[in-house]
Amino acid sequence: MRKRREGFREARARLIRALETGRFNFEGDEVREGKNLLQSGEVSIEFVIALLSSCRGTEHTTSPHHFVPSSSCHIFKPVTKRVRWYIKCYFLDADTILISVHIAEH
């Protein structure tokens, strides 16, 4: 079950801060093609920060993490140049783990 606009401003600010300071991790033990364009070097940190900065509260949702449903992920779907992006992450204690950065499928 997805909820809308839960902690949007805090989540966005936290993710941007993590990107700016390098205090973030990519999830997983492999680089999957097309799944995380920041991880594969196809987009820059600055580009993702710009996407997040333009993201509105209505373009943010949360959802349960797919293998630990008790934890929730933040999903940002900002639009730039008529293209909708999909950015997914979760926060644990002081850590920020980035799961996805790619163009939205729908």
Binding site: T21, G22, R23, F24, N25, F26, E27, G28, D29, E30, V31, E33, Q39, S40, G41, H65, F67, V68, S71, Y90, L92, D93, A94, D95, I97
Partner: protein, 205 residues
């Protein structure tokens, strides 16, 4: 200023194996990629304290992984591949050369063939010798495969020189190179080249 993690720093992540939030410790591990297929040695990653699975890749490690990927792609784009079929007696000669020079078979054979390609690209006289030696003996069947990746520059120069001397296919080229090396090692016709081969054998051991 970006944060830089070090070995034995700790963090937290969701573990796919344990199916819960776990503590992680940053450790150096080899990191394998599927596209392009390569392994990056000693990358700092977040490892689950419970099951030891790699859970996270910090930003700083990803920079290293991407630099390795870029270098590998650049190497692939600018390199050429020599593919040849050679008779088994020539393949045996490759092994005999390595044995005589007390070198490791496979590693030495590749380095030696690159060296001979380099010699060929620099000398029309040597290229002519390679052409003479590339002639196939009657009844010999090309049953062994030799594959060699070389820099794009060496590939272009060597093939250009070989073609100028009438060596038109890669199998003939490799036959000539192996035969020339065999002569150099077993007949003392070129003490200088033999000395270089001895150095290469030492370097690859």
């Amino acid at each position: 200023m970006k944060q830089v993690l070090k070995e034995h720093d700790t963090g937290a992540a969701l573990c796919r194996t344990c199916r819960k939030q776990t503590k992680t410790t940053y450790l150096y591990r080899d990191f394998s990629l599927t596209t392009p297929k390569l392994r990056v040695r000693r990358v700092l990653v977040g490892v689950c304290d419970v099951c030891q699975r790699t859970l996270t890749v910090p930003w700083q490690s990803n920079e290293r992984i991407q630099a390795t990927v870029r270098a590998a792609r650049a190497r692939t784009e600018t390199s050429g591949r020599i593919e040849a079929r050679v008779p088994s007696d020539l393949y045996e000669r490759l092994r005999l050369i390595a044995a005589r020079l007390e070198a490791r078979d496979e590693a030495f054979a590749h380095v030696m063939l690159r060296f001979y390609l380099s010699q060929l690209s620099r000398s029309a006289k040597f290229a002519g010798r390679v052409r003479r030696l590339s002639v196939v003996r009657e009844g010999s069947r090309a049953s062994q495969r030799v594959s060699l990746r070389v820099s794009g520059k060496l590939y272009d120069q060597a093939l250009k020189q070989a073609q100028a001397q009438g060596v038109t296919d890669q199998s003939a080229l490799v036959r000539g190179l192996i035969s020339a090396a065999y002569e150099d090692v077993f007949t003392d016709c070129s003490p200088q080249r033999r000395a270089v081969l001895e150095c290469l054998a030492d370097a690859t051991n």
